[in-house]
């Protein structure tokens, strides 16, 4: 008896609440008034806290957009920083409602973990960074190079595969933490630094002279990153999926947070449907018809989110590359709202 009372007392004392079971995620979210969003413990430009303590980043904007779609208020989000190990358990156990944490969409994750990937908000891939004065322009010229990387990650395996496939000798210099890898590369312990391309841009800022280094064009792995939700709750899955699609469609249709009010009176039927002027697409997924309007008004379209967090004008300075719209030669392609 007493061993059950103690936790009860303590639980009550700290204001813990039992999670209501059985309700759908959307009902849960509406009841508690916010979306619980799983983010990284800090990846520059994707999900990182700023000096005011607010979470910012491309992944964070997905959560904010979902909150805007559901509540019309992008700030109705609470963030749970998750380590790579905890992230899936946190989502499965219902600790978070959506996981937007630079998570690579792979078949095993999609099919075996009881999770659904709602789309891709950033096409990443492993790349190489070298010193400019090395004169290397292609990864194929890296024969005999020493390569700095993190230990025990797929990064290390990808490098091994790539160099072996191209018959190039190489030497791995591996460290436990990213900071150590950067320091070693900066100190000249190795010629090449390899990790996901988005990470290369972020780590480049920590180098003594970022301008002396360049990221090579070769990408040696596929890392499509996107938001993840629990499997078996299609209503919530739809909201996550179409939030992302709405942002991409808005960019394609030229709707931005600045002109969205004028666009409401646009003659373009696609824009009318997107902004809820025509049709009842929001109601069909359990939220208001002005869902996409709220997303664009509060968060912006994909281009705005990209430019504000990782784009060329930010310290990261990542160009759109494959993350451009399909119409601009990239991979981004969202099904139409109709």
């Amino acid at each position: 008896m007493s061993n059950k009372i103690l936790p009860l007392v303590l639980g009550a004392a700290m204001g813990a609440a039992a999670t209501a079971a059985g309700a759908t995620t959307l009902e849960d979210v509406k009841a508690k008034g916010h979306i619980q969003c799983g983010v990284s413990q800090g990846l520059p430009g994707f999900s990182n806290p700023d000096a005011q303590g607010n979470w910012t980043g491309l992944d964070v904007d997905v959560c904010r957009a979902m909150a805007a779609a559901v509540f019309g208020d992008a700030s109705a989000v609470k963030y749970t920083p998750l380590s790579a190990k905890e992230r899936f358990t946190a989502l499965q156990s219902g600790e978070v409602d959506v996981l937007s944490r630079n998570t690579t969409w792979t078949m095993s994750r999609d099919t075996q973990l009881g999770l659904n990937f709602a789309g891709v908000n950033y096409y990443d891939g492993q790349g190489f960074m070298v010193r400019k004065d090395l004169g290397v322009t292609s990864a194929l010229e890296l024969s005999g190079a020493s390569v700095c990387t993190n230990t025990g990650t797929t990064t290390e395996l990808n490098v091994a595969d790539y160099f072996r496939a191209n018959n190039m000798p190489y030497e791995i210099v591996a460290f436990e933490k990213a900071d150590e890898v950067v320091a070693a590369y900066d100190a000249g312990r190795c010629d090449v630094y390899t990790t996901d391309a988005s990470g290369l841009y972020a780590q480049r800022l920590k180098l003594t002279n970022p301008g002396d280094h360049t990221v090579l064009a070769e990408i040696i792995s596929k890392e499509p990153l996107g938001p993840v939700v629990r499997q078996g709750d299609d209503e919530w899955f739809n909201i996550a999926k179409w939030t992302l699609n709405a942002m991409i469609n808005a960019e394609e249709l030229g709707v931005t947070s600045a002109n969205v009010d004028e666009m409401k009176s646009s003659d373009n039927p696609s824009i009318k449907r997107l902004l809820g002027v025509e049709g009842a697409f929001g109601e069909a997924i359990g939220i208001g018809n002005d869902w996409a309007y709220n997303i664009i008004k509060n968060v912006g379209n994909y281009e705005e989110a990209f430019n504000a967090n990782v784009g060329p004008d930010t310290p990261l300075g990542i160009s759109r590359g494959v993350n451009a719209l399909w119409s601009n030669g990239g991979f981004l392609y969202a099904p139409p709202v109709r």
């Binding site: 009372i5 520059p44 303590g53 003594t208 310290p315």
Partner: protein, 439 residues
């Protein structure tokens, strides 16, 4: 020719000459301590060179090359070919976050009140000359934690019905035991008073505390996940320190007890907690514990960490205190018993004051260790000072080659201030309390 012409008798003392310049002042001190022999001179020279090697780059980094103000990373970027200095502008921009974590800006006054109260109560408690020690201790150890809890969390905690049942049960058990002692054991009312006061009194105190924290003072709720920085470090360290000392003393006494069950329990407790690393304790408390609890019951991560840290350091504290107890000669115990003192008065009046005084260095050692161990909570997703600093490295607005170094330097300075402060206070206490042991 008179003899008096040859001999002169001095009638007044010769004036005292100052000591030779080579033995006094800085020069004398240096000759005596630094250059007293050839080998000493060589060692001094080597020492100076090493000190220069270490200190000069530090001063260069922390002061000369440092950037003191700026809006973003641009300010801290070094020019081509120049080594980057400390980016203090970044620490300035992030300072509130390092101190309060992500605590809502509008509510920071609550944290400030807690900080101020803490200082106001701690300083007179630590200064031997300040009056009203007992009242001060009650305020600091009894009232302050509850007040701080309400201020920091916002209070208005929903106390479940079962909690009130538990409090009522506690009181009832006291009354029942007293009743049994009176009617079966044949004791009078005075005889059962300690039991009655113990049980009913703690029930009343518990009830009052629960009532207080459940009152709505109109403060916004601030959940513990947004706490961070120095706030979390201090909450964990202070709670751990304050709670682990009495617990450790009790365990140490328990381990030396002649009662087999108490002795056994104490030994098992101490050896269990000393046998596992703190990191495991934290992991267990945050990952495993929820699996053991009944479904639907979760309790706050910070609370779990607090309990884990407290129990862990209590085990270490127990062994430190036990060392002190062993140093007290048997004659002290026998003398106390000969005076007719029972166990607790003997411990309270004779043994513990001597034993604890002996192990002040060990106790403070444990405190300092505990203070620094608070940084481990990062692995269970809480942001103490160091964690908060590390997480700020990921902000691209401030990402520069020197951001990391500056952040760690800042962390080192803050931790040093606290640990060095504790260390100096312990030395002060040792000197004040030395009675017959100091050489």
């Amino acid at each position: 020719m008179a003899k008096s012409d040859v001999f002169q008798i001095r009638t007044e003392e010769a004036p005292l000459l100052p000591a030779p310049i080579s033995t006094t002042g800085i020069i004398g001190w240096m000759r005596q301590n630094l250059f007293s022999s050839i080998s000493n001179t060589i060692l001094t020279a080597i020492g100076i060179v090493i000190a220069y090697w270490m200190i000069a780059p530090f001063i260069q980094f922390a002061f000369i090359d440092a950037v003191w103000s700026g809006e973003n990373r641009e300010a801290c970027l070094p020019e081509e070919g120049v080594h980057a200095g400390a980016c203090w502008a970044y620490v300035k921009a992030y300072f509130p976050q390092f101190i309060y974590g992500r605590y809502p800006t509008d509510e920071i006054w609550r944290v400030n009140i807690v900080y101020i109260l803490f200082a106001l109560l701690l300083v007179p408690l630590a200064a031997p000359s300040a009056p009203l020690k007992k009242l001060n201790a009650i305020l600091f150890l009894g009232i302050f934690p509850i007040l701080a809890f309400v201020l920091l969390t916002g209070g208005h905690i929903g106390i479940s019905f079962s909690t009130w049942v538990f409090v009522a049960l506690l009181a009832l058990v006291g009354v029942a035991i007293a009743g049994v002692q009176m009617f079966v054991g044949g004791r009078d009312l005075n005889g059962v008073m300690p039991v009655l006061v113990g049980f009913v009194g703690s029930a009343i105190v518990l009830g009052a505390v629960f009532l207080f924290v459940s009152v709505n003072f109109g403060l916004t709720e601030v959940e513990t996940p947004v706490w961070g920085g120095l706030l979390v470090t201090l909450v964990i360290a202070v709670t751990g320190i304050v709670a682990s000392l009495p617990l450790g003393i009790a365990l140490a006494l328990g381990r030396r007890s002649t009662m087999p069950i108490i002795k056994m329990v104490s030994i098992i407790f101490i050896e269990f907690w000393r046998g596992v690393p703190l990191i495991t304790v934290l992991f267990m408390s945050s990952v495993m514990l929820p699996l053991f609890l009944p479904e639907g019951v979760t309790f706050d991560k910070l609370l779990r960490v607090l309990i884990g840290v407290t129990l862990f350091s209590a085990a270490y504290m127990a062994e430190v205190v036990r060392g002190g107890l062993q140093a007290i000669p048997k004659g002290q115990y026998e003398g106390a018993m000969a005076l007719g003192l029972r166990f607790w008065p003997m411990m309270y009046l004779i043994i513990l004051p001597q034993a604890l005084k002996l192990v002040i260095p060990g106790i403070v050692n444990t405190f300092i260790g505990l203070f620094k161990d608070t940084t481990l909570v990062l692995i269970v997703g809480m942001f103490d000072l160091l964690g908060q600093i590390q997480s700020s490295f990921t902000d691209p607005t401030w990402s520069t080659p020197s951001t990391g170094h500056t952040g760690y330097l800042f962390a080192a300075i803050v931790f040093f201030i606290f640990c060095f402060g504790m260390s100096r206070y312990s030395i002060y206490m040792e000197n004040r309390l030395h009675t017959g042991h100091k050489r």
